[in-house]
Subunit: 206 residues, 4 copies
DNA sequence: TATGAATGAGAGTTCATTCAT
DNA sequence: CATGAATGAACTCTCATTCAT
């Protein structure tokens, strides 16, 4: 009754998803062929269809799983600083976003830059999830502005700008690069916090 | 300056490039077919080859022309503030980057997110051009740090972060949206300048 | 005669054959997929192979069973009018053919229009059975001609023509249509008998 | 300026259609592969698409062209006997139907037995054409009944029966067979006319 | 008896590109 | 400068069938 270790339980499905992420990251979704994917996993192309519904659905699943996990973990992280100051909460958000994104580079990349490959219906679902994530940040910024601590013309645009910067990090960050994750986090945290804060001197750009 | 009316020579080529930009933006380079492109311009597919060398070369041209123009205009813009303070120069850079990017949304998008479609040789050329552009910003940041005005752990990473934020703007910016270009420029300028400046109080993150 | 309830052994096999007939009728043999068939019966495709040898063999079985039954019943019907006049025997043949065919529309359709799907060996077997059936009709026509009652140039061709007409009926006949089976039988019997009879006046076509 | 004889004008398109008819007749529409078809014509599969829209559309075209021609020629034939007796007109119809069908066996076969391969929309169009053809025969039968010359319970059903018999002829008729076309025509004409006529003696089936 | 997974073959269709006209 | 036709490669996906469990 014991299942042979390593044998075809969810193993193959996982391998497909993992290889899929890699290939999509490298060549783009449209440019990745199922032949390639199958070869990577050591299957015939036809066998893929025992594990995925269609190529399109695979893309959807990969992005959906990523966004769901991201949302969940973000909420958990923010729960730790519930009731604290907007600055503290923003700091926490940045920390979590960066660590998560630097760890799951591939998932992030796909979820951010391969939305074009989604069918219209799938696209809608994914965009809704993204909106929910953005809403977390916007809420923090709104609190900060309401408390007179943040100085932002428009919290939604500010949120987009912040996310663009943070997510951009996962594009160029290399684990074996010059900077540690801590460095990257510190650098971005400082830039963004300073950028949002209402500064006494009022050094608005000339 | 005179051009014989009806000699639609360059006209067709321009139309192809314009439609190409649009289709690549919408569907991605790999997903855009030359059939589509030809139809868009009112030609048969075969006729495209009177105006482009290959599909690959079209992509290269589009990106190359964009980057060349961007570099040229950036240098012109910075020349206007030669010798001024790093803050002023950074402000100028941000202003120019944003206005240019919000005006040429499609070119920017293609040049940023379709590099994967380039052949290795073409990729090298383009990346070199991008490096030169990034170098302009890094230089400004370096000056600022050297002058003790900017407080940045790593100017290269800071430059990437800044560019990610700025370029991100062209992704979500809609000319008919809630914010004017001026608003967008002001908002980003303020965030970034504050983010870079060496603040007296020393509000390092907790 | 007793069969353990729940031992759905033959039940499943029957369900498969029934669904097979339906699907082949609707989509054609080549166009029917075993996936479809399995789904129709509530099985996985692989499980079908516990009940059929191959797709090809299923087709063969369906047709073979039909033709065997048809032959058997036809002989029984004709036995009832053994020794009677060719006219009476022809009448009986027509009656039986039509009633049988209108009742087993699907079997008839498959046996008539899906022979192309048979493998060469299976094809031979089936065609031999059909020949035997046609022979029954030809024999009646021959008797009629010999007795001077039927006026037919060629009894084989006449048999084909008659069968074509009769079998055609099963194509358009709808149980819930305008005509009852009795109507259909009467109409065809009259047409065919008149068509075969040696008419006194000799109304040969001009 | 003169076009090379035999060169690629409509020649290739015609060859495709001709080979298509043959292959569909032999293997059935679904079973015919475009690879086969291309090979038959000496092309690469892809090249077919310079001449056909899709496989489905090819089928539609073949049937549509056939039915259109059939209708047209039938009307021409019937025009020759306009105003004559129903018997004469029926005779003419039978003659034309048989000669046309024995000459264009393949077209007839496809148009009669491959309707299942048509998409729902195409199916509708084709069925409408067939209805128009059947209407020609029904009209003749109606005239005959009205004039008291034909004895038919139901002209529509009679028409179906007649067409089934006539069309069936094209299934088994072989140009090199035992019977000449004339024989076949005479045999069927006699059977059908006798079958329809109102006979003095009133030999209704017992 | 039923199943999930695997397979090899092959389906229709689209692709970028070439070339004679 | 534009075109229709041709090409070879590649695409996603489905097929009937097998086999260990």
């Amino acid at each position: 009754m014991t299942r042979t270790v390593g044998s075809h339980g969810p193993t193959t499905s996982l391998a497909i998803r993992k290889a899929g992420l890699r290939l999509i990251t490298e060549h783009g979704f449209e440019a990745m062929s199922l032949r390639q994917l199958a070869a990577e996993v050591g299957l015939q192309t036809a066998s893929l269809y025992n594990h995925i519904k269609t190529k399109q659905h695979l893309l959807f699943e990969l992005i959906h799983e990523h966004l769901t996990a991201l949302l969940e973990q973000t909420d958990a992280a923010l729960a730790q600083v519930a009731g604290e100051s907007p600055t503290r909460r923003l700091e926490r958000f940045v920390l979590h976003h960066l660590t998560y994104h630097m760890e799951k580079k591939r998932e992030v990349f796909v979820a951010n830059f391969e939305l074009r490959g989604l069918s219209p219906e799938n696209y809608k679902v994914i965009v809704a999830l993204r909106r929910r994530y953005e809403a977390r940040l916007i809420a923090i910024l709104d609190e900060g502005v309401a408390a007179g601590m943040f100085d932002l013309l428009d919290t939604q645009v500010a949120a987009y700008a912040i996310l663009a910067m943070l997510t951009g990090a996962c594009t160029w960050y290399r684990p074996d690069g010059r900077l540690s994750t801590d460095d990257v986090v510190m650098l971005h945290t400082k830039m963004l916090l300073n950028g949002c804060l209402h500064l006494a001197g009022g050094n608005t750009p000339s």
